[in-house]
Homo-oligomer: 290 residues x 2
C-alpha cells in the first residue's frame, strides 16, 4: 500500500454556513481548492481529501433519525437516507468541481455502498477505490455519508471516522483538520479570554494533556469537535506517534505550511503528538505556551 | 443473489439535448421518475436504473481522447477524466434527485472506483454495492462513467456495458431500454418510410433476423445504437432467452406496461427474444409485422 503525503479534513463548519440549509461558503471552497493545488505544485499531491457535511444533509438526517437508525422502521429511514445523500453528494460535487476547475485531478468518491457498518461500527471500508485512485495520480474526495448498517438499517459515517480508517490504511505523513477557527481552544473560542492551545500531548493510553480538553467542549452543538478531538487522539496513539495531527484554519496562510511541513508556530493552530515518556514535563509546558 | 424485477436503461438521448452541452430534458427526467414510482407502487420496485450521459461528459471525453486512453499520456487523460466525471455525475445527481423527490428510494452509485477495465474489458465490477442496496430496499442509479484501465490509464464504461453485466448478475425478469424514439427502425427513423421493427429474433450464435439491423445504423453518430443493439443481443443469448429485452420510448404510455409485464403491442416498440429452433419461420414473420 502506497503511503499518502497528507490526509486533509475540510470541516463542514468551514465549508458551509452551518445554520443555513445547503449553503456553501464559496470563499472556503476556493481556499480549499487553491490549497490542494499548491500542495500538488509542491510535489505533495498524494493527498486524500475528506469533507464534512455542515449544513448539507444535517437537517434531513436529523429529521429522520438516521444516526440511531432502527431495525424496524426502514421505510422512513430509507426516505431519510435518500434525502440526506442527495444533499451531501451535492456538496461533494461542489467541492470536487472546485478542485477540478483549479486544475487538481480530483475524483469524488462517495462512501455509500463501499463502506458499511454494524451497530455503527465499520465492518467494511472502501479502501480499494481510494488506493487505486491515488496510485493512478488522482486525489480522492470523500465525504461524511449515510451508509447501510446490518443492525439498524443505516448509520451516519462521519468524515472524522473515515479519516481515522484512512490514517491506518495509508500511513500519511500527517493529518490536517482545516476548520473555521484557528484550532482547539481552552474554552469556547467566542468566550472572552479563550486561548488557543498550541499543542496537545497524547499519552499512550489516549489521555491527553492538558486534560481539560476532553470534557468541556460545549461550543460545538453537533458534537463534532468532541469527535474530531477523539479522532485526532486515536490517530496519534494508533500510529504510535508516527502520524501527527494538526488543526488549523482553512482560510489562512498557515494551512499550506501545515500541510507541507507539519509545522505550526505559536498561535497558528493546534498540534497533537504522542508524549514520549522521558519528556513528559516539557511537553505539558509547551501545551500551555500559546 | 436476489433477482431484480427490471433493469432500466435511460438513454442519454432521451434524458438530454444531445447537441447542447450539459442540457437535461426536464420532462424526460420527470417521466423517468414517475415511471419508476409507478413500478414501486405496483410492487415491482426491485429495479436497477442505469442512465447514459448524452450531452453530459460527451464533449469532455471526446476532447481528451478518453475512450482510447493511452499508456503514456496520463496527465491529459487525468484532466479529461476529472472533467468528464464532474459532468456525468452532475447528470446522475439530477436523475437521482428527481427520483427521490418523487418518493422513490433511489441512491446514486457512481461506477468509478468499484469498476475497472484492462484494455477496455471489464476486470472488476462493483456488484456488491448494488446488491446490498437492492436488498436493503433501494433503487441503485448508475451511469456511464470513465473508469481506471490498467493498460491505457482509463476507458469509457458505457451504460450499455454496465447493463450487460447487471443482467448476468441479477437475472432480471426483463431489461428495458427507454429511448427518445419508439424502438429500432429498419432505417434511420427520420427517413421517409422508416418502419418500426416490432420484434427481433436472436439466434443462439448472436445473429439476428431481420439481419439488416446489424449493419446499417448510420443514424446514430456516437455508435450508441449499434452498441445498444449488441448489448441487447448479448443479454438475450447469454441468458439463454430467459431475459427478454425491450426497447421503447421513455416519454410514452407504453413504458410502464413494458416494464411491468414485458408486453409491447404492434407499433409500440421493439422486443428482442431468443429464437426457438422449431419456430424460426413464424418469428421472422412477426419481426416484420410492424
Amino acid at each position: 500500500m502506497a503511503a499518502a503525503d497528507c490526509v486533509l479534513k475540510l470541516g463542514g463548519s468551514a465549508l458551509t454556513h452551518k445554520g443555513r440549509r445547503e449553503s456553501a461558503r464559496d470563499g472556503a471552497l476556493r481556499s480549499a481548492a487553491g490549497l490542494v493545488r499548491e500542495l500538488c505544485a509542491a510535489g505533495a499531491g498524494r493527498c486524500i481529501v475528506v469533507h464534512g457535511a455542515g449544513s448539507f444533509g444535517h437537517f434531513q438526517a436529523k429529521a429522520h433519525g438516521l444516526a440511531s437508525g432502527s431495525p424496524t422502521n426502514s421505510e422512513s429511514l430509507r426516505q431519510g437516507l435518500c434525502l440526506t445523500r442527495i444533499s451531501v453528494t451535492k456538496l461533494n460535487h461542489m467541492v470536487t468541481e472546485q478542485l477540478v476547475m483549479c486544475g487538481v485531478p480530483a475524483v469524488g468518491i462517495s462512501p455509500f455502498g463501499a463502506w458499511r457498518t454494524a451497530g455503527r461500527k465499520i465492518t467494511q471500508a472502501g479502501i480499494a477505490a481510494i488506493r487505486d485512485s491515488l496510485e493512478a495520480g488522482y486525489i480522492p474526495v470523500l465525504h461524511g455519508d449515510c451508509v447501510l448498517d446490518s443492525e439498524q438499517h443505516c448509520s451516519i459515517l462521519s468524515g472524522d471516522t473515515i479519516i481515522e480508517v484512512l490514517s491506518r490504511e495509508f500511513s500519511p505523513k500527517r493529518v490536517v483538520f482545516l476548520t473555521d477557527v484557528d484550532g482547539i481552544y481552552d474554552r469556547p473560542p467566542d468566550t472572552p479570554g479563550a486561548t488557543l492551545v498550541d499543542s496537545i500531548a497524547v499519552n499512550a493510553d489516549g489521555s491527553i494533556d492538558p486534560p481539560v480538553l476532553t470534557s468541556a467542549l460545549p461550543h460545538d452543538v453537533t458534537g463534532g469537535l468532541a469527535l474530531k478531538l477523539q479522532t485526532a487522539i486515536n490517530i496519534v496513539t494508533q500510529s504510535n506517534g508516527s502520524i501527527p495531527v494538526l488543526i488549523c484554519k482553512l482560510e489562512s496562510e498557515v494551512a499550506k505550511r501545515a500541510c507541507l511541513t507539519g509545522e505550526l508556530r505559536t498561535g497558528e493552530g493546534t498540534k497533537l503528538f504522542l508524549r514520549q515518556t522521558e519528556e513528559t514535563t516539557s511537553v505539558i509546558a509547551s501545551g500551555w505556551a500559546g
